[in-house]
């Protein structure tokens, strides 16, 4: 169904339910949908599972969501950072669950969710702690681990521009997880720096077609 456009991030995140799995884009701050996360904090949904590459930095954004106690579980590749003190405290005091997923599996499992793949055999992690208890199979002499899709109820992503059909383009390495997450969630909400007229994006260079994008809001600080 057609992409809807909102004036405020608060409207864009309306209706996110307690217990949702929320995919959060970004790699470090690049592509991080900070305004949507802030709106999600105001919106109040709790008992969330957050899927993101990291587990929050400093005291803002994802870290602020964690600090409010809204997140039951984090699924990520790299929770430990110099400034991940909010997550560190919650984890060490047993107040948050953690599933560490190799970064490529994180991306590929979300791609699988978006592409209708039921499960896939992947060489990453074979023979390691992170494959313990997982099904494996030898294929052509190599050991593969069976991995299942990660599907989101909601994805919050940051993009550079959207046209009026919700076609998105990103900028440089801020692209990272956005396009994959956009395929993997039931409701995809994008914060963009600029909304442009339909027809002004190069159809050869659209990265996320509007079919994947449910809601768009322009960043307030740029609006």
């Amino acid at each position: 169904m057609s992409t809807r456009f909102f004036e405020h991030a608060d409207e864009a995140v309306a209706g996110i339910e307690d217990g949702s799995t929320v995919l959060v884009g970004g790699f470090g701050m690049a592509g991080m949908p900070v305004e949507l996360i802030d709106a999600l904090i105001r919106q109040g949904a709790k008992d969330l599972t957050v899927v993101s590459n990291n587990a929050g930095n400093g005291d803002t954004g994802l870290a602020a969501l964690l600090a409010k106690g809204r997140v039951r579980k984090v699924v990520c590749s790299f929770p430990r950072q110099a400034d991940s003190w909010v997550f560190d405290d919650l984890y060490r005091s047993g107040r948050i669950e953690l599933e560490v997923v190799p970064q490529g599996n994180l991306a590929e499992r979300m791609r699988a969710a978006g592409a209708g793949i039921g499960a896939f055999y992947c060489p990453t992690g074979a023979g390691t702690l992170l494959a313990e208890g997982k099904e494996t199979r030898e294929i052509d002499g190599r050991t593969y681990v069976l991995e299942y899709p990660i599907k989101g109820d909601v994805a919050l992503i940051g993009a550079h521009r959207s046209d009026r059909m919700g076609n998105l383009v990103y900028r440089r390495t801020a692209r990272n997880f956005g396009p994959v997450m956009a395929t993997a969630a039931t409701t995809v909400i994008a914060q963009v720096r600029e909304i442009v007229e339909t027809g002004s994006l190069d159809p050869e260079a659209v990265v996320t077609p509007g079919i994947y994008v449910d809601r768009v809001v322009q960043e307030a600080q740029r609006a």
């Binding site: 057609s2 791609r111 395929t183 339909t198 994006l201 050869e204 077609p209």
Partner: protein, 224 residues
């Protein structure tokens, strides 16, 4: 029993539908803003009946969203065709992508509606539309199996009876299957059928009564 009259909406002709009337009927049932794939053959006609303000976005599995109408004369570009290899045009807001991305879109359930032709549909929504099963036929599936299993809703457009008079809505498909339990609705020249968990429901008829339909089909029919 007046299912014929009550089920036939205003503006829909009471007589057996021609293929353009069927296409118009399908077009009317596609919600505003849907993302739709129209299969090769008759389903392609549906595009001609979508109102200009429908906001419906057409997908073609060879890698495009927001496909426009068939190209004419100097619009023809060999780099721009639909899945039937017919030259088409591009609408504003189009996007191109490669085959794996295009089929990921289909198979991942992102299209709202897919309209397909069929040899047979079973009462449970099994679809047979890729292979006659004839011993000398060269099998060719294309994207049919991917379309059948991927879209949120699969509509079939077909004549209700084959040229030899045999019904194409059947208890069990005798042609090789394209997909199991994948069809949601069947548009035919004589009636529209919804495939529901309870069975096959006749929602509209054209120039035939439900009793007559029930007589000519081996599938039990429910009426709305």
């Amino acid at each position: 029993m007046t299912a014929t009259n009550t089920a036939t909406g205003a503006g829909v002709p009471p007589a057996r539908l021609g293929k353009h009337e069927m296409a118009a009927l399908v077009a009317r049932d596609i919600p505003q803003g849907s993302f739709v794939n129209l299969g090769i053959g008759q389903p392609t006609l549906v595009a001609d009946h979508l109102p200009a303000d429908s906001g419906v976005v057409l997908h073609t599995e060879n890698g495009m969203l927001n496909m426009g109408p068939a190209a004419e004369e100097d619009e023809i570009d060999p780099d721009l065709t639909n899945a039937g290899k017919v030259p088409v045009t591009e609408l504003p807001g189009a996007a191109y992508f490669h085959h794996a991305d295009s089929f990921a879109m289909m198979r991942g359930g992102h299209l709202d509606i897919c309209v397909l032709g069929a040899f047979q549909v079973s009462g449970r929504g099994d679809l047979a539309n890729w292979h006659t099963g004839a011993p000398d036929a060269i099998p060719a599936v294309g994207g049919a199996m991917d379309l059948a299993i991927g879209a949120k809703k699969v509509f079939v457009m077909m004549t209700l009876f084959a040229k030899d008079g045999s019904p194409k809505l059947v208890p069990e498909c005798t042609y090789p299957l394209t997909g199991l339990g994948c069809v949601d609705r069947v548009y035919t020249d004589l009636a529209v059928f919804d495939i529901t968990p309870e069975g096959v429901e006749v929602t509209r008829t054209f120039g035939i009564t439900v009793d007559e339909l029930a007589e000519r089909l081996d599938v039990p029919l429910l009426t709305a």
